[in-house]
C-alpha cells in the first residue's frame, strides 16, 4: 500500500512535469485511426497479398464489383453484368460520371488498362496475377462497356473482382508518374484519397466528397503500422487509436473489461484443422482417422484456448463460405467410442501420433498441446513437433515429410470453398502430398466449370461430405476475427475479412 502510494505520488510528479508535452492525442474530431500490423510497402493493388493492404486500400480503390461487411456481392464500378457466348464472355456496364481522385475519368479504357497491367509483365512480378489467370483479356466495347474474354470458366471471378489485384487504377496517372511513384502515392476512385505515407509508420487519407457512393462521414483516416499486439492494445487503451486489428484471444478480456472500449468478435475466414497422413503411420486407416476426430473434444478447445472466440467446423471452411453445408455436422466427441474404434482397428496402445505445427503460432501451440492431451487419453503416444512456418509450408508438407498429423490454417478472402478444396485435396497440389483420389479430383474439376450457383454449391457440399467421410483431416475450428474498438466510433461495420470500408463510419 505504502509503496503504491509512493509510486503514484512519483508518477503524478512526473506527470506534472511532462503535462505540457502530452498534447498529441489522436482523438481529433472527424479522424479515425486504425492500427494495422504490417506495412505492405506498396499501395499498388498488384504488388501485394497482405490483408493489411486491403484494410487500408479498400478505402482508396473500387473494383467492378463490391462486397460489404455482410459478405454479399453488389455492384461497384460496374452497375450490371451478363454472361455471353456460352459464358466465355462477360459483359460489364460501367458506372458513368465517375472520376479518379486526380480528376481523371473512369471509363472502359481504365478497366482495360488495369487488367492489361495485371495480366501483363508488370503483374507477373507480383503475387496477384495468379488469381486472375482465368481472364484472357479485356475488350473495350464502348466508353462505358467492357467485355472480359475468359480463358477458362471461373465461378469465383465476380467475387475476385471486388478486391485486391482487380481494383481499378488510373491509366494516365500511372503512365505519367510511373509505377514507383504510384506505389507510394496511390490514386483510385474510392471514398478516401491519399494524403501521405510514411513507410513503416503510417498512411493518411482524407475524404473524397465526390465519390459516386456519396461523401464519407469522416474527414480523415489514419492507418498506423503496429506489429506488436500488446502495443496495439496499449494504444487503444490510451485512446490514441480507434480500431485495433491485432488482438490475440488471450488479450480479448483486457479489451472487454475496459469501459471505453468494445470488443467485436465475429465469424472470420480462418479455419484450422489437423490434416492426417493417409500414407504412413496409424492414420493410414480411415477408421483410425475417424477415431482420432472423435477422441478430441473440439468444443473444449474452443472454450479453453480460444476463450470462446470460434466455433466447431465439419469441413475446412467457415459458415460464411460458399459451399458451406449447414446439414453437415462434425463427428461428435466420444472418447469411449473412439477407444473402441482404435481397438477394432488393431491399434496398439502407445502407438505414436506426432503433430507438426507452425512454431511461431502461440495460440495453436496451446491447441496442439490440448489435442495431444486428448490423444494421450486415447492411449496413444502423442507428441508435438514445432517447425518454422516457411519450412513447414515449403518443405515438410509439399515434400510429404510430415508426421501423422499436421497443422493447416487457411483463410481465403473470397469465402469460396472452391479455392480451399482444390488446393487441399486435388492430386498433385502442394498442400496434398499423399492423396490421389480420382473421384475427388473429378468433383473438384467439375465445379470449376459451372457458373450455375445452385449446382456448383451442391457439388462443393458433396466434396465437403466426401472429405469428411474419408476423414482426411480433423476439422478443429473456425476462429473469429476480433477487433478492439473505441466506443466513440459509430456505425462501424465490422468486416469478417478485415477489408474495411469507412464510408458510413463516424466518430464522436
Amino acid at each position: 500500500m505504502k509503496v503504491s502510494t509512493t509510486l503514484r505520488a512519483l508518477g503524478f510528479t512526473v506527470a506534472a512535469a511532462l503535462a505540457p508535452l502530452a498534447a498529441s492525442q489522436a482523438q481529433a474530431a472527424g479522424t479515425l485511426t486504425t492500427a494495422i500490423a504490417l506495412d505492405p510497402g506498396s499501395w499498388d493493388p498488384i504488388d501485394t497479398f497482405v490483408v493489411d493492404w486491403s484494410s487500408a486500400a479498400n478505402n482508396i480503390f473500387d473494383g467492378l464489383t463490391a462486397r460489404g461487411a455482410d459478405m454479399k456481392l453488389k455492384p461497384g464500378l460496374a452497375t450490371s453484368w451478363e454472361f455471353l457466348d456460352n459464358n466465355s464472355r462477360i459483359r460489364f456496364k460501367l458506372r458513368e460520371n465517375v472520376k479518379f481522385h486526380n480528376g481523371e475519368p473512369f471509363n472502359a479504357e481504365a478497366v482495360k488498362f488495369t487488367f492489361d497491367r495485371l495480366l501483363g509483365d508488370e503483374g507477373k512480378k507480383g503475387p496477384q496475377q495468379s488469381n486472375y489467370t482465368s481472364i484472357d483479356h479485356v475488350e473495350v466495347v464502348d466508353a462505358n462497356t467492357v467485355d472480359f474474354i475468359m480463358k477458362q470458366p471461373d465461378p469465383v471471378l465476380l467475387t475476385k473482382l471486388a478486391g485486391y489485384g482487380a481494383m481499378i487504377v488510373p491509366p494516365q496517372y500511372i503512365k505519367e508518374k510511373g509505377d514507383d511513384y504510384f506505389n507510394s502515392h496511390p490514386v483510385g476512385t474510392g471514398p478516401f484519397k491519399f494524403v501521405s505515407y510514411e513507410p513503416k509508420v503510417s498512411l493518411t487519407l482524407e475524404a473524397f466528397p465526390e465519390h459516386w457512393g456519396g461523401a464519407p462521414k469522416l474527414d480523415k483516416l489514419v492507418f498506423r503500422m503496429i506489429a506488436e499486439a500488446n502495443t496495439q492494445i496499449a494504444e487503444l487503451q490510451a485512446g490514441r487509436i480507434d480500431v485495433a486489428t491485432l488482438i490475440p484471444f488471450g488479450l480479448a478480456p483486457t479489451v472487454e473489461k475496459d469501459p471505453k472500449l468494445s470488443l467485436i468478435s465475429i465469424t472470420g475466414p480462418t479455419v484450422v484443422a489437423l490434416r492426417l497422413n493417409t500414407k504412413n503411420g496409424i492414420t493410414k486407416d480411415v477408421n483410425v482417422r475417424k477415431a482420432l476426430i472423435m477422441g478430441i473434444d473440439r468444443d473444449a478447445i474452443i472454450k479453453a484456448v480460444l476463450l470462446g472466440h470460434g466455433k466447431p467446423i465439419a469441413s475446412f471452411q467457415a459458415d460464411l463460405s460458399f459451399g458451406y453445408d449447414p446439414n453437415l455436422k462434425p463427428l461428435p466427441f466420444d472418447l469411449a467410442k473412439a477407444k473402441q474404434m482404435l481397438q477394432q482397428a488393431g491399434v496398439q496402445a502407445g502407438a505414436p501420433v506426432k503433430i507438426d505445427f507452425r512454431g511461431n503460432d502461440a495460440t495453436f501451440r496451446e491447441v496442439a498441446q490440448a489435442a495431444a492431451g486428448f490423444l494421450q487419453a486415447l492411449g496413444l503416444k502423442a507428441s508435438l513437433q514445432p517447425y518454422e512456418t516457411p519450412v513447414l509450408l515449403n518443405d515438410i508438407i509439399p515434400n510429404g515429410k510430415t508426421d501423422e498429423a499436421w497443422h493447416n490454417a487457411w483463410g481465403g478472402w473470397t469465402f469460396d470453398y472452391d479455392n480451399t478444396a482444390y488446393l487441399m485435396y486435388h492430386s498433385g497440389e502442394k498442400w496434398n502430398p499423399y492423396d490421389k483420389d480420382p473421384k475427388l479430383d473429378a468433383m473438384l474439376e467439375k465445379q470449376r466449370s459451372i457458373y450455375d450457383v445452385k449446382e456448383r454449391e451442391k457439388i462443393l457440399q458433396e466434396i465437403a461430405r466426401y472429405v469428411a467421410d474419408q476423414a482426411l483431416e480433423i476439422p478443429l475450428y473456425n476462429q473469429n476475427t476480433i477487433y478492439g474498438v473505441n466506443k466513440r466510433v459509430k456505425n462501424f461495420d465490422a468486416p469478417a475479412d478485415r477489408r474495411f470500408r469507412f464510408t458510413e463510419t463516424s466518430v464522436e
Binding site: V14, K125, P127, P199, R224, A234, P390, L393
Partner: protein
C-alpha cells in the same frame, strides 16, 4: 602510426565482408520470399517462379551476393521485396531514429550511473553502497520488455501522459530511453564504482584531501576525471551493443528504427532490407571499434607495435 591504422582498416573491411556474407547466406537458408509475398494464397509454382525471377532470386547465390556488394560500394542497397521501396530510403529514416534513441538511452544511463556510482564508492561497504549494488543486480536481471510493458501500463494507461508507442515528439522518447537507460545503468553503476574506488586509493587524492579541498571538488574534479578514461572507452563500445540490443525495445514501442526494420525484414524474408540494415549496423559498430582502437593506439604506443 599509418601502418597501424591501415592494418586496423583492413581488419574492419574483412569483418564487414564476413558479416554481410554470413547474413546473406543465413537468411537464404530458410523460407521463400515469393511465398511470403503471396501470403499462402492460391498460387502456382509457375507464378512463384515469375516472382522469384522479378526479385532476382533465380540467380546463383554468389551472383546475388556480388551484386549486393557492388551496390553497397555505391550506396545502393537495392529495393525492398515488399513493395519495392529503396532500402537506402528506409535506412535513411530508420537510422536517425535508432541513433537518437541510443543517445538518449546513453544520456539517461550516464546521468543516473555517475552520481550513483560515485556515491556508492564513497560509501563503500556501508548500506547505501549495498543498496545501490543490489539495485543494480535487480536492474541487470530485468528483462527489458517487461520493464517496457510496466512503464507503458503506468505512464500511458494509468496516468495517460505518455504515448505508448511511436516516435512523435520529445515525450515519446521518455519510456523507450528509460527502458534502455535503466538496463545500461545497472552495468555502468558498477563500473563507475570500481573505477572510482581505484582512483580514490591513489596518492594524489590523498594529497588533494590533505590540501583541505572540499569533498565534492576532490570527487568530481580530481577523482572522476581520472576514472573517466576507462568509462569513456567502455561507453563507446557499449554504444555498439546498445544498438544491437535495441531491437526488442523498438518493437515494444513500435519505434521506427533499425531494429524494427531488421525484424520485419526477417519475418518477411525481405533479403535486401535485412542485408542493408545489418550492413549499416555492422559498419557502425566496426567504425566505433576502429575509432576506439585508433584512440588507444594514439594514447598507448605499446598497442601500435602489437
Amino acid at each position: 602510426m599509418a601502418g597501424f591504422i591501415l592494418k586496423r582498416l583492413l581488419q574492419a573491411v574483412f569483418v564487414i565482408l564476413a558479416v554481410t556474407l554470413i547474413v546473406a547466406f543465413a537468411i537464404r537458408l530458410s523460407g521463400d520470399p515469393a511465398v511470403m509475398l503471396a501470403g499462402g494464397s492460391n498460387i502456382t509454382e509457375k507464378d512463384l517462379q515469375n516472382i522469384r525471377q522479378a526479385l532476382g532470386l533465380e540467380r546463383p547465390f554468389y551472383v546475388q551476393y556480388l551484386d549486393f556488394l557492388r551496390g553497397v560500394l555505391v550506396g545502393d542497397f537495392g529495393r525492398s521485396f515488399m513493395g519495392g521501396t529503396p532500402v537506402s530510403l528506409l535506412i535513411s529514416k530508420a537510422l536517425p531514429a535508432t541513433l537518437l534513441l541510443a543517445f538518449a538511452s546513453l544520456l539517461i544511463s550516464i546521468v543516473l550511473s555517475v552520481p550513483l556510482g560515485v556515491y556508492a564508492a564513497v560509501q563503500r561497504g556501508r548500506w547505501p553502497d549495498q543498496l545501490i549494488r543490489i539495485l543494480s543486480l535487480v536492474g541487470l536481471s530485468f528483462p527489458n520488455f517487461w520493464l517496457a510493458i510496466m512503464l507503458v501500463l503506468f505512464f500511458s494507461i494509468t496516468l495517460g501522459i505518455l504515448p505508448p508507442s511511436g516516435m512523435e515528439g520529445p515525450e515519446s522518447f521518455v519510456m523507450p530511453a528509460l527502458t534502455m537507460g535503466i538496463i545500461l545503468t545497472a552495468t555502468n553503476v558498477r563500473l563507475v564504482r570500481t573505477s572510482m574506488l581505484e582512483t580514490l586509493s591513489q596518492q594524489y587524492i590523498m594529497v588533494a584531501r590533505s590540501k583541505g579541498l572540499k569533498d565534492w571538488v576532490v570527487l568530481y574534479k580530481h577523482a572522476l576525471r581520472n576514472s573517466a578514461i576507462p568509462l569513456v572507452t567502455y561507453i563507446g563500445l557499449q554504444f555498439g551493443s546498445l544498438i544491437g540490443g535495441i531491437v526488442i525495445v523498438e518493437r515494444v514501442f513500435n519505434w521506427p528504427g533499425m531494429g524494427t526494420l531488421a525484424f520485419d525484414a526477417i519475418s518477411a524474408r525481405d533479403y535486401p532490407v535485412l542485408q542493408g540494415s545489418i550492413t549499416v549496423l555492422a559498419l557502425f559498430i566496426v567504425l566505433i571499434n576502429l575509432l576506439v582502437d585508433i584512440a588507444y593506439g594514439l594514447i598507448d604506443p605499446r598497442i601500435r607495435t602489437e
